[in-house]
Point group: C2
Chain length 217, copies 2
């Protein structure tokens, strides 16, 4: 698996494939073609074949992909066959929403601790997790072997939180604060900013009729 | 402006450029080079020049980009110089978080109505907006000329809500439900699914040392 050659766009499509494959598996569908996947996911079948070929030779001509086998492989590629502990910093509205979101609890990825810098929030409970003070952050990350951090603090506090997460040993960050975080090159940061999502949507408002691709990037 | 040639990846980077340009403008910085932009945004300067060149000849050799002029141009490209009304469907935790998020209120894009199918929520207030029942959806969209819809309902309800938004005249949807929505080709759908964000982050956990690009897709 040559990770350095695989673009982020490909990696970001894998969970999308996985979700639909899980759906097929629940419906007891044994095989699926790249054509069917493409139709359902609004993607070019050749693109799907190319994406999956980065990781191995999973499809069989005329038969397609074995659903269970491909699920197992993608889960392995995405490391969803490991338990990955996640910490959330920022127990505001968005932090509440994320920790409530049941999708998080799937696939061995789990928020195991919540932190907030605001004293009155410390000690309150969100989904069976007690909000902890920032002083306990490093010790908790080490104790639970937490590898991913989610930042849902206001933008002015985000860099400080990122620095604390990184110095405590976090390897990857999902940042919801509308700001660009600086981090050493070995730390992976994804920004989940719905402001930019909304703004890029607006671009398509009058171009929609000519440019009809969905989520192709 | 040949919208059919511009990839979604480019369009999605424009709001990121804009945010930093606004920051420079506040600091009264008059010009910026693609090198400075690239360093701040963790992007290749050549990529930035190429992105901006799709839309016009904004930069001047040896001087760089005029910050105010580029802000004005990007705002125009992203249609942020228009008032764009947004509707939110789903007044749960996530809907609350999004409607509270002050970033939404910038740049003339505004949530002007909130809907929920759950009767006890109808009539409650979120940030000065009264949650309305789904029966009023079409009339409200037409009355306010709403063009973008945000879906924050559970995944099983998302397609039904999307269909209602589209038949009411919505042109673009930001979908937070962890499901793939079907829509006619002239409707633009972006999926803001932090489950896939998290899952694609996990991919990089052990590859981080070799593969250090941030958000390059």
């Amino acid at each position: 698996m040559k990770s350095d050659k695989i673009s982020e766009a490909v990696v970001r499509r894998l969970p999308v494939y996985l979700r639909y494959l899980n759906e097929l598996h629940l419906r007891e569908v044994a095989t699926v073609s790249s054509q069917e996947l493409g139709q359902k996911l609004d993607l070019n079948p050749a693109q799907i074949r190319k994406d999956l070929a980065y990781f191995g030779d999973f499809g069989r001509k005329g038969i397609g992909y074995d659903v269970s086998y491909l699920i197992e492989k993608i889960r392995h590629i995405l490391k969803l066959d490991q338990q990955i502990n996640v910490v959330l910093v920022g127990a505001g509205n968005l932090g509440h929403a994320l920790s409530n979101y049941n999708a998080f609890l799937k696939d061995n990825m789990k928020i195991v601790a919540i932190f907030d810098a605001y004293t009155p929030k410390v000690g309150t409970k969100i989904n069976n997790l007690v909000v902890q003070s920032m002083e306990e952050l490093t010790a908790t990350i080490k104790e639970f072997g937490i590898r991913i951090g989610i930042i849902t603090v206001p933008d002015v506090e985000a860099q400080d939180v990122a620095d604390k997460l990184i110095s405590s040993g976090i390897e990857a960050i999902l940042n919801f604060a509308p700001t660009i975080l600086k981090a050493p090159p070995h730390i992976r940061i994804h920004t989940a900013d719905f402001t930019t999502d909304l703004q890029s949507l607006a671009y398509y408002l009058d171009n929609g009729k000519e440019d009809a691709d969905h989520d192709e990037a």
